[in-house]
C-alpha cells in the first residue's frame, strides 16, 4: 500500500515536473523578434566633447523641478547651500555628470540618465502600467498617479536608472522622461541638450544619432573606443554614447544584445499560454479531487448533480 502510494506520488510529481520543464524549455514560436525602431527620439552623448560644466544638470533641475519632483542636494561642506551637489542619481536628480580619472592623462566625463531602451525592462515589469513607452517617440515615461511604489523597475533596470525617494513619506520614482512634459513640449528639445555649450549632447531621432556617431568614429578612429554604446546593448537604447575609455570603466555595464525583458517575457508567456494553462490545471485538479471524493462515498448525490452542470 505504502509503496504503491509512493510510486503514484512520484508519478504525479514527475509528470507535473516534466510538464513544467517541457513548457519552460519549449522554443517559443509566438515570440516575434524585437524590431528596432530608429525613428524614436534619443540623445547622443559624446564623452570626448564634454567639458564637465554640468550645465545640463542645472538645466534639468530648473526645468523639471516642479513636474518631476526634483530638488537641490547640498554637499556636506556647503553649509550655506550655494550649490546643487548630488553625488549620484537620486530621488532628487535625474541626470548627472561624473568624472572618471584613471591617471592625469586618462580620464573621461560621463553622463548618467535614462537610456530609453527599445525594449525597456522597467515597462515590462511594472505591474500597473505606471511605466510606459510611447509608441511614436519611444520615450520611457513614468506616471506617479498609477505607481504603487513596488520598486520592481529598480530591480529590473540593468543601468540602475529609476530612483526612489526613500526619505519622503509620499515618495515616487524619479527618472528622465526626455523633458516630455516640459522642455520637449515647449521647445522641441530636451533641456540638457539645449544648454550644452560644448555640443556633447545631440538630440534627435535614433537613426540620425547613429549616423552621426558612425561618422565621428570614422573621422577620428584614434580618439574613440570603436564602439557605440547603446546601439545593441540590451536590445538597443535611444540614449547612445561615444567615449575614449572602455564603457564599463565609466559605469556603463556590459550587457548582452538580447533584451532582458525578452528573456523573462518569453518564459512567462510559455508557462501561461495566454491563461489557458492555469484553467487547464484547475479543471484537471477539480476532476481528480471530485473523483477522490466520490471514492469516499455515495451519499452526496446532490453535489454530484451540481458538479455536472
Amino acid at each position: 500500500m505504502k509503496k504503491q502510494s509512493r510510486r503514484d506520488f512520484l508519478k504525479l510529481v514527475g509528470a507535473t515536473g516534466a510538464g513544467l520543464v517541457a513548457a519552460g524549455s519549449a522554443t517559443c514560436e509566438a515570440n516575434e523578434a524585437l524590431k528596432v525602431n530608429n525613428e524614436e527620439l534619443g540623445m547622443l552623448y559624446d564623452a570626448t566633447k564634454c567639458v564637465g560644466c554640468k550645465a545640463c544638470m542645472s538645466a534639468c533641475k530648473r526645468v523639471n523641478a516642479d513636474y518631476g519632483s526634483l530638488s537641490y542636494e547640498k554637499a556636506r561642506f556647503d553649509t550655506d547651500g550655494l550649490w546643487d551637489a548630488p553625488s549620484d542619481l537620486s530621488g532628487s536628480t535625474r541626470t548627472l555628470i561624473k568624472l572618471f580619472k584613471e591617471s592625469n592623462k586618462q580620464w573621461s566625463y560621463v553622463k548618467y540618465s535614462c537610456m530609453h531602451c527599445q525594449k525597456p525592462s522597467c515597462v515590462s515589469v511594472c505591474p500597473v502600467s505606471a511605466m510606459t513607452k510611447e509608441p511614436v517617440t519611444g520615450i520611457v515615461d513614468y506616471n506617479k498617479n498609477t505607481c504603487i511604489g513596488c520598486r520592481y523597475c529598480q530591480v529590473a533596470c540593468p543601468y540602475n536608472i529609476p530612483k526612489f525617494q526613500w526619505e519622503k513619506a509620499l515618495p515616487q520614482i524619479v527618472k528622465c522622461d526626455l523633458c516630455k512634459n516640459t522642455n520637449l513640449r515647449e521647445k522641441g528639445i530636451s533641456a540638457c541638450a539645449e544648454v550644452c555649450p560644448a555640443g556633447a549632447i545631440k538630440f534627435g531621432k535614433r537613426k540620425d544619432l547613429l549616423e552621426e556617431a558612425q561618422t565621428r568614429l570614422k573621422d577620428n578612429p584614434d580618439k574613440y573606443i570603436a564602439h557605440i554604446y547603446g546601439e545593441h546593448e540590451g536590445g538597443g537604447t535611444n540614449h547612445i554614447y561615444l567615449a575614449s575609455m572602455p564603457f564599463n570603466k565609466l559605469g556603463l555595464p556590459d550587457i548582452k544584445p538580447e533584451a532582458p525583458a525578452e528573456f523573462s517575457e518569453k518564459i512567462q508567456h510559455t508557462i501561461y499560454k495566454g491563461f489557458i494553462a492555469p484553467v487547464a490545471l484547475y479543471s484537471t485538479l477539480c476532476f481528480i479531487a471530485v473523483k477522490n471524493m466520490k471514492k469516499h462515498g455515495h451519499g452526496e448525490d446532490d453535489s454530484h448533480k451540481k458538479e455536472e452542470k
Binding site: 540602475n160 526613500w166 479531487a289
Partner: protein, 443 residues
C-alpha cells in the same frame, strides 16, 4: 451531523505570559511601521536604490509565503493524492497558511511606496500581464481570500456549538441600562446560530472547488515568485539566474510546505502538551525526499547545461551560500529517507528544520545574497527593519494561539486514540469540513 469530531478546540487560557511577551514584540514592530508611514521608508530601513528590495520582500513575501505553503502541500496530498489519513492536520496547516499570506500582504503594504495606488490592480486598463509581479499580486490576493473561505467551516462549527458564554459575560459586565435585553439577545444569537447551521452544509458541498482553487493559485504564484528575478539577468549571480527559476521555486515551496507542516505539528504538540502525531508525520516525511531529489536534479542539470557547475565549487562568497542551501536540504532529506529516524520526533524535527532553513536560504540567495546591482552598493537590514518583520511574525504566532483556542483547529486527540492505529482504513467521520458530506459514508 457529527460536527468536528476530527478537530477540537484547545482547552486553556488565552492570556498567558507568552501572549503578553508576543504582544510586546508586535507593538514594537508596529511602532516602527508608524515611523515608516510618517517619515518614509528610508527612515526605518537600509534599503537603497541598489537594493530596492530588502528583507520585507525577501523574508515576508518570498520566503514567508513558501513557509505558509503547508496548507498547499497538505491539500495536494489529501485531495489530489487522495490520502485522507492526513486530513486531521489540514486545518492547522490552512490556518498558518492564512496568517502567513495575510501578513505577507500586510508587509507588502508597508513596503509599497505608494500603497494608496494599489487599487490599480483592480483596474483592467492598468493590467500588465507581462509583469510577474502583477501575476503574483493578483494570485496572492485571490489565494488569501480562498484560504479564508476554507477556514470558514471551523468558525461556523464553532458558532453552531457555541453556548455564548463570552457574549453573556460581556452582557453581564455592561451596565444594566445599556446592556441589551436578555431575551432579545438570545433570539438574535439563536438566529446567528441557525444561519451558521444553514450555511455550513451548503458551503461544504461547494468547498472542494475552493480547495482546488487553493491548489491552483499557489502553483501559479509560487512559480511566479521565481519568475520575478528572471529579468535581473545582469544583477543575479549566474549560480541562481536560470530560466528554470519558476520550476525551482515551485518545487522548493512544496518541500518547504511539507516540512513546515511537520514542524508546526511537532511544535504545537509540544507547546500545547498533546501527543505527537507521529504516524501521519512520518508518512509525510517519507514524501519529502522525492520532491527534493527532483529539485536537485533540475538544479544540477541546469548548472551543467549552462556550464556553471565550476562556479558552485569555487568556495567564494556566492559558492559558499549556494553549497549551504544545497547541503542543508540534502542532509535533511537523507535523514528522511531512513524509516527509523522518521519515527523519532527529535529526528523529524531536526531534518524538517534543516529542509526549511535550506529552502528558505535558497530564496534569500536568489532575492538578496546572489543579487549584486553593481559596485558600491551594500545592504544589511537595519534594526527597525528587522523589528517590523519580527513584529509581523509575532503577530502570526499570536493569532495562531488565539485561533486554536477559539475554533476547532487541532486534530482531536481522543478521536485519534479510539481509532487512530490504522488511520488509512479508518472511517472518516468528519462532516464539518471540506467537502465532508462526501466523506461521510464509510460507516
Amino acid at each position: 451531523m457529527a460536527h468536528s469530531e476530527e478537530f477540537q478546540k484547545l482547552e486553556g487560557r488565552i492570556f498567558t505570559k507568552s501572549f503578553f511577551i508576543l504582544l510586546a514584540v508586535v507593538l514594537t514592530g508596529f511602532f516602527f511601521v508608524g515611523v515608516r508611514f510618517v517619515k518614509g521608508i528610508g527612515a526605518v530601513s537600509n534599503m537603497s536604490d541598489g537594493y530596492p528590495w530588502g528583507i520585507w520582500i525577501t523574508y515576508d513575501v518570498a520566503t514567508g509565503t513558501a513557509i505558509a505553503c503547508g496548507g498547499y502541500a497538505v491539500a495536494i496530498l489529501v485531495y489530489i493524492r487522495n490520502r485522507m489519513q492526513y486530513h486531521p492536520i489540514i486545518r492547522s496547516a490552512i490556518l498558518t497558511s492564512m496568517f502567513g499570506y495575510g501578513l505577507a500582504g500586510f508587509s507588502v503594504m508597508v513596503d509599497l511606496g505608494r500603497p494608496w495606488n494599489a487599487y490599480n490592480f483592480f483596474v483592467p486598463r492598468q493590467w500588465q500581464a507581462n509583469s510577474a509581479m502583477f501575476e503574483v499580486a493578483l494570485c496572492v490576493m485571490a489565494y488569501s481570500t480562498v484560504l479564508m473561505i476554507e477556514f470558514i467551516p471551523a468558525i461556523l462549527t464553532s458558532i453552531e456549538n457555541s453556548k455564548w458564554t463570552r457574549m453573556n459575560a460581556i452582557r453581564n459586565w455592561l451596565h444594566p441600562r445599556i446592556a441589551p435585553d436578555q431575551k432579545t439577545m438570545e433570539d438574535k444569537l439563536e438566529m446567528v446560530r441557525l444561519g451558521a447551521a444553514w450555511l455550513n452544509p451548503r458551503l461544504n458541498k461547494v468547498l472542494i472547488f475552493f480547495i482546488v482553487l487553493g491548489i491552483t493559485l499557489p502553483t501559479m504564484h509560487q512559480s511566479s515568485l521565481g519568475s520575478l528575478l528572471l529579468i535581473a539577468s545582469t544583477k543575479l549571480h549566474p549560480l541562481w539566474h536560470t530560466g528554470f527559476l519558476p520550476l525551482l521555486f515551485l518545487l522548493n515551496c512544496i518541500f518547504i510546505g511539507y516540512s513546515i507542516a511537520i514542524l508546526e505539528s511537532l511544535i504545537s504538540s509540544y507547546a500545547f502538551k498533546r501527543p505527537f502525531e507521529i504516524k501521519e508525520l512520518s508518512g509525510l516525511a517519507g514524501l519529502i525526499p522525492y520532491v527534493t531529489v527532483i529539485w536537485f536534479s533540475v538544479m544540477v542539470g541546469d548548472l551543467i547545461y549552462r556550464g556553471q557547475l565550476a562556479a558552485a565549487f569555487k568556495f567564494d562568497f556566492y559558492s559558499r551560500y549556494f553549497l549551504s542551501d544545497f547541503l542543508l536540504v540534502a542532509i535533511g532529506s537523507l535523514f528522511m529517507f531512513s524509516g527509523k529516524l522518521r519515527r523519532s520526533p527529535r529526528w523529524l524535527f531536526i531534518s524538517a528544520a534543516m529542509i526549511v532553513f535550506g529552502g528558505a536560504l535558497y530564496r534569500f540567495n536568489v532575492y538578496l545574497i546572489g543579487f549584486n546591482p553593481g559596485k558600491g552598493w551594500r545592504y544589511f537590514p537595519s534594526f527597525a527593519e528587522v523589528m517590523i518583520t519580527v513584529g509581523i511574525v509575532a503577530l502570526e504566532i499570536l493569532a495562531y494561539k488565539v485561533f486554536v483556542a477559539l475554533f476547532p483547529v487541532l486534530p482531536n486527540t481522543s478521536h485519534g486514540k479510539s481509532h487512530g492505529h490504522a488511520p488509512a482504513a479508518e472511517p472518516v467521520k468528519e462532516a464539518g469540513y471540506a467537502g465532508a458530506a462526501a466523506l461521510n459514508t464509510h460507516n
